[in-house]
């Protein structure tokens, strides 16, 4: 915690590379924070996270993307459709893509079910990998899928708190994706993920004249005077994720 305070005093910011978002954050995510990226499937969480990593890499900050929902070939295939996705950064090891399922299988873990020990072993590894690679930016996609493999609410609770303290001890800025059903206003599947995060960003939908408009909102960001307004979000192959002021329609 102390570490974090210091960083904020230093006013170190981790730029997401999405201009409007950095403006809303007052420069970027406070370095060292853990941010929960909440949204339903297809809401753009993965794209946003990847953009965050690629952008960091371009500024010389190494990053790692742990996937547990999507196999790597599928992830890279999707990402290659975006012009921001610079394959060279992956090839050069500035952005590392790691399939957690392969890791856990290699450790002899039943890939669909984790015990409490499994989960904490996996956490250790996650931390070791982040240390070994000396990453400044870390993404776990998704925390929901990780928790899904735990059997009881108590185990999930324990795991999330352990994850929180591990992440707090690390010096990197972390994005955790959290999957929620569409058109809901909860921030997490298990109701506790938000407590370990310093920030929450919510990716939602808004219906206007029968069209679904993507929305984005910073719900919380410790250590940053941030905007709380809801923005419209666009995802395009050319520009990736972009934000624009949301026009207030009379609903």
């Amino acid at each position: 915690m102390q570490e974090e305070e210091r960083l904020i005093v230093d006013n170190e910011r981790c730029k997401t590379g999405i201009d409007e978002l950095d403006i809303q954050l007052g420069g970027g995510i406070p370095t060292g924070s853990t941010v929960l990226m909440v949204g339903s499937s297809g809401s753009g969480k993965t794209t946003l996270c990847m953009q965050f990593l690629i952008n960091g890499a371009q500024q010389g900050e190494r990053g790692v993307f742990f996937t547990i929902t999507e196999p790597l070939f599928k992830l890279t295939k999707n990402m290659e459709g975006f012009s921001f996705y610079d394959k060279k950064l992956v090839e050069s090891g500035m952005v590392n893509l790691i399939d957690l399922r392969i890791i856990s299988e290699r450790l002899g873990l039943d890939t669909e079910k984790y015990t409490a020990e499994d989960a904490s072993a996996l956490l250790d590894i996650l931390r070791d990998i982040a240390d070994e690679l000396n990453v400044k930016r870390l993404v776990i996609d998704s925390i929901t899928a990780l928790c899904y493999r735990l059997q009881t609410p108590e185990m999930i609770r324990d795991f999330i708190f352990k994850l929180g303290s591990s992440l707090a001890a690390m010096k990197c800025t972390t994005l955790l994706t959290s999957e929620v059903p569409p058109m809901t206003f909860q921030y997490s599947q298990y109701g506790i993920e938000e407590f370990i995060s310093d920030g929450i960003m919510f990716l939602g939908d808004l219906e206007r004249k029968g069209d679904l408009i993507r929305t984005f909102q910073i719900v919380k960001m410790r250590g940053a005077a941030h905007s709380r307004t809801k923005s419209a979000m666009s995802i395009s192959s050319k520009s990736g994720v972009e934000l624009a002021p949301l026009l207030k329609s009379r609903e």
């Binding site: 196999p71 790597l72 070939f73 590392n96 893509l97 790691i98 399939d99 957690l100 399922r101 392969i102 890791i103 299988e105 290699r106 450790l107 002899g108 873990l109 039943d110 890939t111 015990t115 020990e117 499994d118 072993a121 250790d124 590894i125 070791d128 990998i129 070994e132 690679l133």
Partner: protein, 254 residues
Amino acid sequence: MAKDEFISTGIDKLDKLLEGGTPRGFSVLILGTPGSSVEILCKQLATVGKVLYFTTEETEDEILNTISRFGWDKSNIKIVDIASEYSKAVLSSEEKRISVYKQRSKIKLKELIEIGSSGLPPTQKGAEDFLAVLSNKLKSAKYEKIIINSLDFFLSQYRQEEVIRTVHAAKISNLENKGVLFIIMTRGIHGDIFERKMEGIADCVLELEVLQKGSAFERFLAVKKMKNYAKKIGIARYIIDSDGFVLEMIERIM
């Protein structure tokens, strides 16, 4: 000619009851009940002819020991020990759990990173697919007798439709091989409809029954179905002595 047409069951009186043995290419369903000693019948069936024996409850050693005890020939039996494989699989999955940390210390972090970032997703490799083992072995089998003791195991692990499909395939390949397929199943635990289906698939249905008569138990072996041999249907009382199954009194129904 008769010798070619039928395969001896290995039990004198049962051959008599069946008037020569089991016709080649037949699939025989044996319905047992607890206490009927159907497992002894299985082993006795296995003592005559070239036999492939699938065992799901007893291990290979247990079977061979029992056969030795009765003094039967065991030189022609090939045993597929699913019971041992299954318990090994269960045990090793338990073991794996304990050794995550051990495993972790064995793998270099760099290696792990490399595997995680280059490898393909793990194929869903759960426990071994025993039904696949069964159907693969059956397909390639060139045996006079194939014994599956018992179908209960597969029914506890797989859906009934999958099991039925495998049994169907087994029946066809047995027909081509001109052997005899014995399938053992406990009566009354898999549902009436499933039992009827199985009886429908089988060319011959044998049923073992235990009835209480006063203070004693009497055991009966009934030939419930004999495709294309209507007159062979009958029932016999049996006892088990040091020679195995002994059929005592044969009653013809037709």
